[in-house]
């Protein structure tokens, strides 16, 4: 078989391929709701040349095709420094300059925790039919419990309290544990700088991105296939690599699930 890129592609096919990419950019568009989208998805899966064209268009825009399926549609991710990338600075804009670093970490951690609670076991992340459920209560509670376990580990030793003159050397679990979970505000809403506020913001943002769907009145969300693909194919892997580079994880494959607890 000749290399697909050497073939000439009709201009009309390029347009169709670009249309598929455009569908992928709409977070809430689904093939099940749009027959034209579903046709393009089917074509992507059956026609290698078309698939290659779609990938090249995406790549030219600074995007990567993570998955294409009838349930998830076209799942795109931005490459680094692409115009389509969501930046933490824009997401967590309303933070006090003094704890900018800690705040950024907490916002990032909230997203990590949402994924962790949405897919509690490795099997859940791997299983395409799995639908996770998350709520603010559950996410903040689980992170707090994990922090508490870590604090119990150092309790009674000299390390029980952080060094006072180097805030950047404080462990993340201390910062999370210290932050209040909720504050009573004048208008009765949860305070934004609290851990529940931070997790709530993450859940709402992910819902806007079409990754979560609210179910029921109690602030419970369920995951969409797009989210599972996004976490499995990209986010978890990239974070894993970062941690590996930091020497935090043993240099084994991601499938060694022997309860990696920490450093």
């Amino acid at each position: 078989m000749s290399y697909p890129g050497t073939r000439s592609v009709p201009a009309v096919d390029v347009e169709s391929a670009a249309r598929l990419v455009a569908h992928g950019m709409r977070p809430k568009a689904l093939p099940a709701r749009d027959p034209a989208y579903a046709d393009l998805v089917r074509r992507y899966r059956e026609d290698d040349v078309f698939a290659d064209t779609v990938q090249r268009i995406a790549s030219g825009l600074g995007l990567v095709v993570l998955a294409v399926g009838p349930a998830s549609g076209l799942v795109l991710a931005a490459v680094e420094d692409s115009a389509f990338e969501i930046r933490m600075d824009e997401y967590a804009r309303r933070t006090v300059l003094a704890n900018r670093q800690a705040d950024k970490v907490m916002h990032g951690l909230a997203h990590l925790a949402v994924a962790a609670l949405a897919f509690p076991r490795a099997d859940d992340l791997a299983d395409d039919t799995y639908v996770g459920r998350v709520s603010v209560d559950q996410v903040d509670g689980a992170v707090r419990e994990a922090c508490r376990t870590l604090s119990e580990r150092v309790a009674g030793t000299a390390e029980a309290d952080p060094v006072s003159d180097a805030p950047q050397l404080e462990e993340v679990w201390r910062a999370w544990l210290r932050r209040p979970e909720a504050t009573a505000t004048k208008d009765g809403r949860a305070g934004e700088a609290t851990t529940r506020g931070i997790v709530g913001k993450a859940l709402r943002f992910l819902a806007d991105q079409g990754f979560l769907v609210p179910v029921g009145p109690d602030g419970v969300y369920r995951t969409t296939p797009r989210y599972q693909v996004q976490v499995r194919e990209l986010a978890a892997q990239r974070t894993f690599d970062e941690l590996l580079a930091l020497g935090v994880l043993p240099a084994a494959g991601p499938d060694s699930l022997a309860g990696v607890a920490g450093v």
Binding site: E80, A83, F84, E85, I86, M88, Y91, N99, Q101, A102, V105, G108, L109, H111, L112, A115, A116, L117, A122, D123, D124, L125, A126, D137, Q138, G141, A142, V143, E145, A146, R148, G156, A158, V163, S164, L169, E171, W173, R178, R179, P180, A182, A190, Q230, V231, R232, L234, A235, Q237, R238, T239, L243, L246, V248, L249, G253, P254, D255, L257, V260
Partner: protein, 482 residues
């Protein structure tokens, strides 16, 4: 051994310093009260109010909730009131709120307190450390409301057992209690009984945390050793307390009945109340302890049921989240940011249309009339005239009145119609309408309006035989409204 030179790992010093630090916010209340411009704060003892507030919050803590802030303030009012009886109630409330907000430390981001202390590292270096603590903590309840709970540090400050083991403090408190009762010092006995109750609250809180964690992930809680140990410990505590308190209750009840001095009698009666409450708390904790095993088994069944792995994937919680929590804040920036960038999808930049922008900028400003939009004149249509007229209404009223002589007697609709037709050919229609309306007479409405009597129409199944109207030949009568 040389004295005066601090030794490495001298934990006693750090422990005492931390205990001391927990009282600082209370002293601070009195130090800062003079700066309040809305109250003559000299007459309030803020530290006392603070301790009282911590008491109230602790006593209101149970398995599910703490106390809502307004409720705590409300319970504090009598206590604050005794310090300045002639001050307005609004001021008492404001003082109560100020104290609670200061114990939460509302102004700070973390809503807590911190104190610095030093310790010697293994190599003899002096290391400054920061001890973070809270006194009152705000938590979100299941209904979304924010509740207050007392932190462990605050319970320790309150109980006064700053650096003691839970179990030994418990034993000491019991011994103290029996002594006090035998010596007749009931006020202190009450304190000791309350201390025992705080221990129960602490066990309950520890158990609640473990059960919550189990519901989220069975594997995160050590059900092999740690939890059974906690359950055993708590059960032993309850067993001991239950026996002790039943005995105390008998004892005090006798003391209460035999006491001749009124104040002693009142103290004894109060103590009976406290001890009863203690017993109730113990029973509550015991119920939860008995259910704990079932919670674990149910969660294990639920969570362990899983299909076979289809492909290798990352365990996000164990392999990513937990390691991230152990990192230093500065180091954690990259991995968490990497997850954020990769896990939030793509953002479609919004591009303003240049044509549209130019047009918007070039558009002349619209003139605004200072008086605003003209008020449209409403088009008034003439109301439909009453087809019957006041005259006919009056005649129907009169006809109904004469035809229905007394309450309790009824007339047939056919009779009324015949009578009306004889007077005026248009009148039967109004009569029929009035009677029809009387079928659904609302007694409640008549009563609220204060009507003395009410027109009632009832269908008894007789068919109306009339040239103009069909249906049931209703029985019409008046009823007195009682």
């Amino acid at each position: 051994m040389q004295t005066g030179v601090p030794r490495a790992g001298d934990e006693g010093l750090a422990r005492r310093l931390k205990a001391l630090a927990c009282t600082a916010p209370l002293h601070d209340l009195d130090a800062r009260k003079t700066r309040l411009d809305w109250v003559d704060a000299e007459r309030y003892q803020m530290a006392e109010i603070g301790l009282q507030a911590i008491d109230e919050v602790t006593l209101a803590m149970d398995f599910d909730h703490g106390a809502a802030q307004p409720e705590v303030v409300r319970r504090l009012l009598p206590f604050i009131g005794t310090q300045a009886p002639d001050a307005p109630a609004g001021e008492h409330e404001r003082v109560g709120r100020w104290v609670i907000e200061n114990l939460i430390n509302v102004g700070s981001l973390d809503r807590g307190f911190a104190v610095e202390y030093g310790s010697l590292a293994a190599d003899g270096r002096y290391v400054r450390r920061r001890f973070d603590f809270k006194l009152l903590v705000e938590l979100a309840g299941p209904d979304g409301e924010v509740y207050l709970r007392t932190s462990d540090e605050a319970i320790n400050v309150l109980v006064g057992a700053l650096d003691t083991d839970v179990e030994s403090a418990q034993v000491a408190a019991e011994v103290q209690l029996e002594n006090l009762i035998s010596r007749g010092l009931l006020g202190d006995a009450r304190l000791a009984a309350e201390q025992a109750r705080y221990r129960t609250v602490q066990y309950a809180e520890a158990l609640r945390q473990k059960l919550d964690a189990t519901r989220r992930d069975v594997r995160s809680v050590d059900w092999l050793a740690a939890v059974p140990a906690l359950l055993d410990e708590a059960l032993t505590h309850i067993e001991g307390r239950y026996r002790a308190e039943t005995a105390i209750l008998d004892h005090i009840a006798t003391a209460r009945d035999e006491a001749t001095e009124p104040s002693r009698r009142r103290q004894a009666a109060e103590l009976v109340g406290v001890v009863r409450d203690c017993i109730q708390r113990h029973t509550q904790l015991q119920t939860r302890l008995q259910e704990a095993g079932a919670v674990f088994r149910a969660e294990q069944d639920r969570q362990q049921f899983a299909g076979r792995p289809r492909r290798a994937a990352i365990d996000v919680f164990g392999q990513l989240l937990r390691p991230c929590l152990t990192l230093h804040v500065a180091t954690a920036v990259e991995p968490t940011a990497a997850f954020f960038r990769a896990g939030t999808g793509v953002r479609v930049p919004s591009v303003p249309s240049l044509g549209g922008l130019v047009e918007t900028l070039l558009a002349p400003p619209s003139d605004r009339d200072p008086l605003g939009e003209p008020v449209p004149v409403p088009e008034l249509a003439p109301a439909a005239p009453d087809p019957f007229g006041a005259d006919r209404w009056g005649r129907v009223d009169a006809a109904l009145n004469t035809a229905l002589p007394a309450a309790g007697r009824a007339v047939r609709l056919s009779a009324l119609l015949a009578e009306a037709r004889a007077a005026d050919p248009d009148l039967p229609r109004l009569v029929a309408l009035r009677v029809l309306h009387a079928v659904g007479s609302a007694v409640t409405t008549a009563r609220t309006q204060g009507d003395a009597e009410l027109l009632l129409a009832v269908d008894d199944g007789t068919v109306l035989r009339d040239a103009e109207y069909g249906g049931a030949d209703l029985l019409v009568g008046t009823a007195e409204v009682l």
